[in-house]
């Protein structure tokens, strides 16, 4: 909290977004790695995955 971040305005550093942002891409990339199907929109719920897997020829 006390450190000065020269890349931010007035030396501040964001704490809310950085930990939240990469989670969805990480899950999406894990799905891509496991199946070869790239999903590019949320939510990645079961129904969406079934539809995407069909498009990708997995089902």
């Amino acid at each position: 909290m006390e450190t000065d971040d020269p890349s931010g305005p007035f030396g501040n550093k964001s704490l809310g977004e950085p930990p939240a942002i990469p989670v969805a891409p990480a899950v999406r990339n894990a799905v891509l790695h496991a199946t070869g199907v790239a999903v590019n929109s949320l939510p990645m719920n079961p129904q969406k995955l079934v539809e995407e897997f069909r498009k990708g020829g997995l089902l």
Partner: protein, 294 residues
């Protein structure tokens, strides 16, 4: 909040029937887990209720001398699940009843209400379909037995006439003896949710437990009423268990015609039917003491 014009507490089944016969608009209430919700939502606002709650002759599960099971319609979901007779003879029905709603609902909601309400998503319905249950109803003109295949008439409609009361759900011995089963409820959440798809499978294994001699498969929510899958049943019968498990899902697709609703798309339901049919059969085989490869 609850707009109820009058409540008549019936003392016995006969009393309820005669009160219903007197009032063609009266609505039967048992556990109230469906009726009270409709009243609060305004659908049944200003209704006159005939309560059958607490009528002893309509409660409990017994195994008759001939092996037939008689389930009192006022038996709660919890009563079904905890019944010694159910656990011994048709454990899969007890497990299916245990998936309805949450603990409070299962302590109040009754199996009779679950089937008289006529909804396709009822958690006990698909298993009762595979068991070919018989519904004994009594009205002012006497008693009649309705097989479950003739029970469901459409969304929220069953073969029950006004002033008729479901008095017993009968599962004949030959319908359950030698069978093992499994019910899978697929929903967004694992509790307090309505099934996106319910799949119930019963299997009778051969003596050496290598083959699926007879298979019965039923779905809830894949149509307006719970339904059996005759093509899948016929196609899987007689096959070695692993082959039956592999094939039954694709076979079942010929029996169903699900629609797209806000809950799930047709495509998604087809995938669930294909996948979960095999899984239900697999677990049914395991419950019957059979060995599966995958």
């Amino acid at each position: 909040m609850y707009d109820i014009a009058s409540l008549y507490s019936a003392s016995c089944a006969e009393d309820a029937i005669s009160e219903l016969a007197r009032d063609p608009e009266a609505v039967v209430i048992a556990g109230g887990t469906d009726v009270l919700i409709k009243i609060r939502a305004g659908e049944l606002a200003g209704c006159r209720l005939v309560s059958i709650h607490g009528i002893r002759e309509l409660e409990g599960v017994t195994c008759r001398e001939n092996g037939d099971l008689h389930i009192g319609p006022l038996t709660t979901f919890r009563g079904i699940t905890q019944s010694e007779v159910i656990r011994r003879c048709v454990p899969c029905l007890g497990e299916a009843a245990d998936q309805a709603g949450g603990p409070q609902l299962r302590a109040m909601g009754t199996i009779g209400g679950n089937v008289c309400n006529g909804v396709t998503s009822a958690d006990s319905a698909s298993t009762l379909m595979t068991l070919d249950a018989i519904f004994r109803v009594r009205g002012p003109d006497g008693q009649r037995d309705i097989p479950i295949s003739e029970w469901y008439r459409g969304v929220g409609k069953v073969a029950l006439r006004h002033a008729e009361l479901l008095t017993c759900i009968i599962i004949p011995r030959r319908h359950y003896e030698g069978f093992s089963g499994h019910y899978i409820k697929y929903a967004q959440r694992s509790a307090m949710d309505i099934a996106t798809l319910g799949v119930s499978c019963l299997v009778k294994l051969s003596g050496d437990k290598a083959r699926a001699e007879q298979v019965r498969l039923a779905f809830g929510v894949d149509g307006p009423v719970p339904m059996r899958a005759p093509t899948a049943e016929a196609g899987a019968a007689g096959l070695p268990v692993d082959e039956a498990i592999e094939k039954i899902g694709a076979l079942a697709l010929a029996d169903v015609n699900p629609r797209t609703s806000w809950r799930a798309s047709r495509e998604f339901r087809m995938q669930l039917i294909k996948e979960l049919s095999g899984r239900a059969l697999r677990q049914a085989v395991i419950n019957g003491g059979g060995a599966v490869k995958c």
